[in-house]
Every structure is written in structure tokens, then in C-alpha cells.
């Protein structure tokens, strides 16, 4: 039954691929999250509109509601979006439930090669089952969780002296998670320029994915893994390993001792707010925001510095980013595929990076000038080398909700121990995988 449907979908794409023409001008709706790169994409898409004659409409949903609303839209078979830049974790569900159009035949026909895109991004944003050459999206926006700090404060002589006196080393962007904690605690409640400042802005949001994305940024470097053997769903000893417990305890300490007051439900926006209003010395956030932060008239320019998520036992960053997919319920799939064809061109990808989008195209990333093209560009390459992502299973939402609950209960609501939280998480996940017939 499933294969039959898949075949049908593929046949549909193949058939429609033959009829890609400019005969009809369509109005395409592209759905994505409401954030800086989305504005850049609007700018970029003007070129497509001019070339193709199609008009582009955009539906940008704020991050806290993005997953909820878009998954609801897909599950209800809605026709709102023709193109969707969906989160990396949706790919499993998008593929298995037939929400996304399979792109293999289209890629073959148009000569789009996945080898032109960075392997880590193809793996994360395009393939299902993971790592197989079955593509349901084109890597659109590379992203990872990184850090930025107040360079101007770090460079103040009195601050540097005080830090050296306290810790016996120079104040510099942290190289390990422990250093990060030390620096954050150092800045916590410190008076700078007559105002009380705080250590770090981190993710603690409950409703969507915030605290999971934040806490895993500490847990991955400490040694947290999802499975003992990849693909076997054997989570005991991986999810609740002593390293994972230490990582989670670390994140709680960071939260309790080095964040601004009232920081109980914060994600991207709150992190940006805290940094821009001068509340914090450091903040975590997605690389996507870095061009905007660097350009900020008040806290950007030479006042800001960037660093990749510090390692501990190993180097690792939490993966963000998205691929662009064609929604299977759309009536305008031809025009939508045209858009993807246009977007995949190296010249467009170059312009995409210039406007503030993180291209995944190797011609952009491997350009010798890339690392110096922005102050965070080399950190981005570094981060993408060690990215780890959440489950991308079709049941991802259920898995994520369980982790959100267990982490928030432990870190913010201060209930139970880290070990208990992770043990319960394994129970939740086991139940889900049993329901899925995978365990």
C-alpha cells in the first residue's frame, strides 16, 4: 500500500516534471519561520519573480508556533503552502506520510546533483531514510547553534584584570563548556557601565523545542548520544549515560547560576533581546541571526564577537537549518519545482549567502574567500563539521515533546534529578518506538 502510494507520487512528479513550462504564471506561497533569513529570502526571490513571471507570496510564522502550525497544516492536507522550508526533523514524517514530493527524478532531469551540497547538510536536510539517496528536500539553509559575546566588555582592562585575579587565566572566548560556565558566572550580576549585567542567555523555552535545542548544546559535547548502536533504538546507557547526566546537570547549573532573572521560558527572541538590551555578556543562538547581530547599530560591529559551541569531551554543535520541499497537496507543483531549480543555481546560492542566508552549496562554502567573508563564517564551517541532530523519525514531534517536558521539569521547575529525568525520557521514547513497531 505504502509503496504503491510512493510509486504513484513518484510517477506524478515524473509526469509533472515533463511539463515544466513558463506558460502559466502562478502565485506561489512559500512557508517558513518569521526571522531574519526569511526577509533575505523575500529579497532574493524578487529575481525569481522577474525571471519566471510567477509571483511569490510568503507565510512566515514565528518560531514558537512554527512547528505546531505547519505540521498541523501538513497533517490536515492543507493547500496553504506550495513550498515549505521545514525543519530538519520533519523530513521523516514528511516523506513517510506523503507530505513532501520526492525530488529524485526532478533532480536527475534538471541535472541538480546533491554532490554540489555539503554532505552533512544533504544528510540532515534532504534524505529519508537517513543517508539513503532518497531526497525530499533541497538543502536551503545551513544552521547550527552558536554563541556570541560582548567583545567590548571582554576587552575592558578592569574586567580582564578581575577575571585573571579570579581564575588565573586570560579572559577569552571559552574553549570548553566548563570555561563557558566560569565566564558566565563571572559576569553574573557584575556591574558594567553602571548597570547590573548577567552571564549568558540560553534556551529554556517549553512550548516548542527551545530547551531541548539549548540543553543538547551542552549534552552533546559531554557525550550524550541517542543510541548505543545507530539505528537500533537501544537508548539505555546512551541517553542516560553518566556523561549525559553530567551534561544535563551542567546545563541546569548554567541556568541557575548564570542567566538573567525571569529567564524561564526563553528562546531565540528572548536571547536576542537580552543581548541587544545589554543584559548579558554572552548568548547562544542560531547562526542564522549572526548577520543581523553583526549589523546591529547598537551592539554589533566591533562590540560583538562570535564563537562556536565549546566542546568538552568532544566537539559538537546542535544542528538547526532546513531544506526546501514541495508540498504534495499543492496544486502548483510545477511552479514550485521551478523555484527549487532556480534556487539551486550556484549564482543564486552565492547571492543567498551575501544577503544573509546560509547557503549549503559547496561552491559557496569551499570558496577560498568564504571563511573571511564574515566574522562568523569560519565558525560556521567549524560548527557544521560537528553537528548532531535530534531524532528525525516520523514520530519526531512526540519524541521532542517528551524531551521538552522532562528537561523543563528538571532544569526550570527543579523537580527530580538529572538521572531520573533521562530515565523517564527513555521510558517515554521506548513507549513511542514500541507504538511505532520499531522496538
Amino acid at each position: 500500500m505504502k509503496t504503491a502510494k510512493l510509486l504513484a507520487a513518484t510517477a506524478l512528479v515524473a509526469a509533472s516534471g515533463l511539463t515544466v513550462t513558463h506558460a502559466q504564471a502562478d502565485e506561489l506561497t512559500l512557508c517558513w519561520a518569521a526571522w531574519d533569513p526569511a526577509n533575505a529570502l523575500v529579497e532574493l526571490s524578487k529575481e525569481f519573480e522577474a525571471q519566471s513571471g510567477h509571483t511569490m507570496k510568503f507565510e512566515f510564522v514565528p518560531w514558537p508556533n512554527f512547528a505546531d502550525r505547519m505540521l498541523n497544516e501538513l497533517n490536515s492536507g492543507g493547500k496553504l503552502c506550495d513550498l515549505l522550508i521545514g525543519d530538519s526533523q520533519w523530513i521523516g514524517g514528511g516523506a513517510e506520510n506523503g507530505h513532501y514530493v520526492k525530488l529524485n527524478d526532478f533532480f536527475d532531469k534538471e541535472g541538480i546533483s546533491m554532490d554540489d551540497f555539503a554532505p552533512a547538510t544533504v544528510y540532515a536536510y534532504s534524505t529519508w531514510p537517513k543517508g539513503t539517496p532518497n531526497y525530499y528536500a533541497l538543502p536551503a539553509m545551513g544552521d547550527a547553534n552558536g554563541w556570541f559575546y560582548r567583545k567590548d566588555w571582554f576587552e575592558k582592562p578592569e574586567i580582564q584584570e578581575a577575571f585573571k585575579a579570579e581564575h588565573g587565566r586570560d579572559l577569552a572566548p571559552p574553549k570548553t563548556q566548563m570555561e563557558l560556565l566560569e565566564i558566565a558566572q563571572f559576569f553574573q550580576e557584575r556591574e558594567i557601565d553602571g548597570q547590573k549585567r548577567y552571564g549568558a542567555a540560553i534556551f529554556t523555552e517549553r512550548g516548542s523545542e527551545g530547551i531541548t535545542m539549548g540543553a543538547t548544546s551542552s549534552m552533546y559535547p559531554f557525550g550524550f548520544k541517542y543510541e548505543m548502536t545507530p539505528g537500533k533504538y537501544d537508548m539505555e546507557g546512551a541517553v542516560n549515560s553518566p556523561e549525559a547526566v553530567a551534561g544535563l546537570e551542567f546545563y541546569k547549573e548554567l541556568y541557575q547560576t548564570a542567566t538573567p532573572p525571569g529567564y524561564t521560558d526563553s528562546y531565540m527572541e528572548q536571547s536576542l533581546d537580552a543581548f541587544k538590551s545589554g543584559q548579558v555578556a554572552m548568548a547562544m543562538n542560531w547562526f542564522a541571526f549572526f548577520p543581523g547581530l553583526y549589523a546591529d547599530p547598537d551592539t554589533g560591529g566591533d562590540k560583538i564577537g562570535f564563537f562556536v559551541n565549546p566542546g568538552q569531551a568532544k566537539e559538537a554543535s546542535t544542528l538547526g537549518g532546513q531544506g526546501i520541499s514541495v508540498v504534495a497537496y499543492s496544486d502548483k507543483q510545477d511552479a514550485a519545482l521551478e523555484y527549487i531549480k532556480w534556487f539551486a543555481q550556484p549564482s543564486v546560492q552565492k547571492k543567498w549567502w551575501d544577503l544573509g542566508g546560509y547557503s549549503c552549496h559547496v561552491s559557496v562554502l569551499n570558496d577560498p574567500g568564504f571563511a573571511d567573508s564574515a566574522p562568523f563564517a569560519s565558525d560556521f564551517l567549524l560548527a557544521m563539521d560537528g553537528v548532531m541532530d535530534f531524532w528525525q523519525e516520523p514520530a519526531y514531534a512526540e519524541l521532542l515533546l517528551a524531551m521538552q517536558k522532562r528537561l523543563h521539569d528538571y532544569v526550570v521547575a527543579d523537580q527530580g534529578t538529572a538521572k531520573e529525568a533521562l530515565d523517564k525520557l527513555i521510558e517515554d521514547w521506548t513507549e513511542t518506538f514500541e507504538d511505532e513497531g520499531k522496538l
Binding site: N39, N72, E73, N75, S76, L80, D273, A295, P297
Partner: protein, 313 residues
């Protein structure tokens, strides 16, 4: 000794009671006043500490509510021709340019279409049913009336599960028609119960006189009863409208764009970098003020409306 009379309160008693009630009213209205004033604050004033009571009014919140903007570099800004309108000037002062209109207008319009559509339907159907329940012997009348009421006891999320599946099958997801039908079904219990109360109060003698004069039953209904019930119908309509207007749970689950109403949309208004409270407040103000006006117009029938006609004054 008679100074403590309950039926005739003394002047000091009245003063005491009046002062307490007025004090409560002022405190309870503060949040509403705060919504309205925040809409006219500049973003800096809105998040000032201590909270600002006096401030220089600004329309930035309203401009931000109706536009989407992008930040541009100072050089680009310099190169642009001078702003053509006052709102462009406000945006430029923040190093931004207007990229286009926001979705607020559309979502507000959706609220209007769905609100009025469902109100019309539920009052139309409700009036007919209420007349029948009021005047005729309908078999199982009490059961039917109770059944109509009990549909209100389900949590909306629970109702939304099968409705979601139904809408998906019928292609009604995220459509105006789907939302109008759903809100009609939810409102009709209120409409029937309220209107039955209003029609019960119209003396049967009027219709009977009309019937003797040679009117048919139907003529008696629309020439005699309907005009008499006009006030009741109007206030029922306003109650239905307010319900559809305020509804959130169904809207957030069953609409995503095309038919999304304002309540799920307003909380998602964000600015460029950080929650734009003046814009949120501006959106809330435009959305809430009509209801405030209706509430004041409706004050006589308020009690009846909120208790499904169980309490009449």
C-alpha cells in the same frame, strides 16, 4: 436603630460601598487601559522601568502592526529617495524600510467574515427552532433542549479531534465555510436557549389574535412575533458575534492561514528582533474595543446572555 436597614441604605453606607466598588473598578480596568495606552507608546517607552504613565504618544505601534519591515544598512538608507508618507518616515527613523503590508488586515477581515457569517446562520436557525420550542409541542422537547445545551460541555479540544478529521476529509480545513459552520453549531445552543426565553415572554394572545384575523401561522410568526422579538434577536446576535470573535481553540487548531482569525494571530505578532509590545497592544486594541462598545450597548441583556437565559432580570 433603623440606620442599618438593608432596603434603605444610609448615606454613609452608600459612600462606603461606592468607594470600594469604584476602587475595584479602577484596579480591574487598569490592564485594559494599559493595553490601549501601550499601543500608543514608542517601543522604548513601552518597556521603560518604572512603567511610564506619561509618555509622548507615537503611532509606531500601529505602523508596525500593519507593515512588515526589514532592517537596511545606513548606506542603503541614505541612497533611498526621501520618505513619501508619515508612516514611512517613522519606519526609516528605525533604520528600516517597509517591505509590505502585514497579515493583520487579512486576519481581522477573516474574523469579521467568520463572525458575521456564523452569527447570521445561528440566529436564523436559532430563531426558527426557538419559536418551535416555545409555541409547539415538540416530541422529546426537554430532552432536545438539554441535548442542545450539553453540546457546550465538551472541551473544545476534544470536539476538535473529530472535527479536524472531518474537515480534512471534506476539504474544509482552513476555509471560511468550515469555520462558519463550526461556530454556527457551537453558537446555536446559546441562540436557541436565549431566543426561547425572549419568545416565551411575548404573549401568545398577539399571535392568536392575528390567527383569528386570518393570518396563517407563518405570517403570524414573521409579522407579529419577529418584530416583537427584535431586541432579543439583536442581543442574541451580539452574543453569538462576541463568541465567534473571541474564540481561540478551534481557530488555532483548524486554521493556518487563509481562514485564520485574529485571536490566534495577535499573540504571534513579533517585531524585528524582540517582541514588539506596542504593535501587539495596537492589534489587541483594535480587536477589543468593538467588543467593549457592544458590551456597553448590551448591558441590559448581559446577564441573560452569559447564563444561557437561565437568569433573567
Amino acid at each position: 436603630m433603623s440606620s442599618y436597614s438593608i432596603t434603605e441604605p444610609s448615606t454613609p453606607q452608600k459612600w462606603f460601598a461606592g468607594t470600594l466598588v469604584v476602587a475595584y473598578a479602577i484596579i480591574t480596568l487598569l490592564p485594559l487601559v494599559w493595553i490601549i495606552t501601550t499601543g500608543f507608546k514608542s517601543p522604548v517607552d513601552a518597556i521603560a522601568y518604572p512603567p511610564k504613565v506619561l509618555f509622548e504618544p507615537s503611532l509606531e505601534g500601529y505602523v508596525n502592526l500593519f507593515t512588515t519591515r526589514t532592517r537596511v544598512s545606513p548606506e542603503t538608507l541614505e541612497a533611498l529617495p526621501p520618505p513619501e508618507s508619515w508612516y514611512e518616515e517613522i519606519v526609516r527613523n528605525r533604520d528600516m524600510v517597509i517591505a509590505g503590508p502585514s497579515r493583520y488586515g487579512e486576519r481581522f477581515l477573516n474574523s469579521v467574515i467568520i463572525g458575521f457569517g456564523s452569527t447570521f446562520l445561528s440566529v436564523f436557525l436559532g430563531t426558527l427552532a426557538a419559536y418551535a420550542f416555545s409555541r409547539f409541542k415538540v416530541p422529546l422537547k426537554d430532552d432536545l433542549l438539554f441535548f442542545i445545551l450539553s453540546t457546550r460541555m465538551m472541551p473544545p479540544i476534544a470536539v476538535a479531534i473529530p472535527i479536524f478529521l472531518m474537515f480534512r476529509t471534506l476539504g474544509l480545513s482552513d476555509t471560511h465555510l468550515g469555520m462558519i459552520l463550526l461556530y454556527t453549531a457551537v453558537n446555536i445552543s446559546l441562540a436557541v436557549w436565549l431566543l426561547k426565553g425572549f419568545i416565551d415572554e411575548i404573549p401568545r394572545e398577539y399571535e392568536e389574535a392575528a390567527l383569528i384575523d386570518g393570518y396563517t401561522r407563518f405570517q403570524a410568526f414573521y409579522k407579529v412575533v419577529l418584530p416583537q422579538a427584535a431586541t432579543g434577536i439583536a442581543s442574541t446576535a451580539i452574543f453569538c458575534l462576541i463568541f465567534s470573535w473571541n474564540e481561540y481553540a478551534f481557530a488555532v487548531l483548524l486554521t493556518s492561514g487563509t481562514a485564520q482569525t485574529a485571536p490566534p494571530f495577535i499573540p504571534t505578532i513579533i517585531g524585528v528582533g524582540g517582541q514588539d509590545w506596542p504593535a501587539v497592544a495596537a492589534g489587541a486594541t483594535l480587536f477589543l474595543v468593538p467588543v467593549m462598545v457592544f458590551t456597553i450597548l448590551l448591558r441590559k441583556h448581559l446577564l441573560r446572555g452569559i447564563t444561557f437565559g437561565a437568569v433573567r432580570k
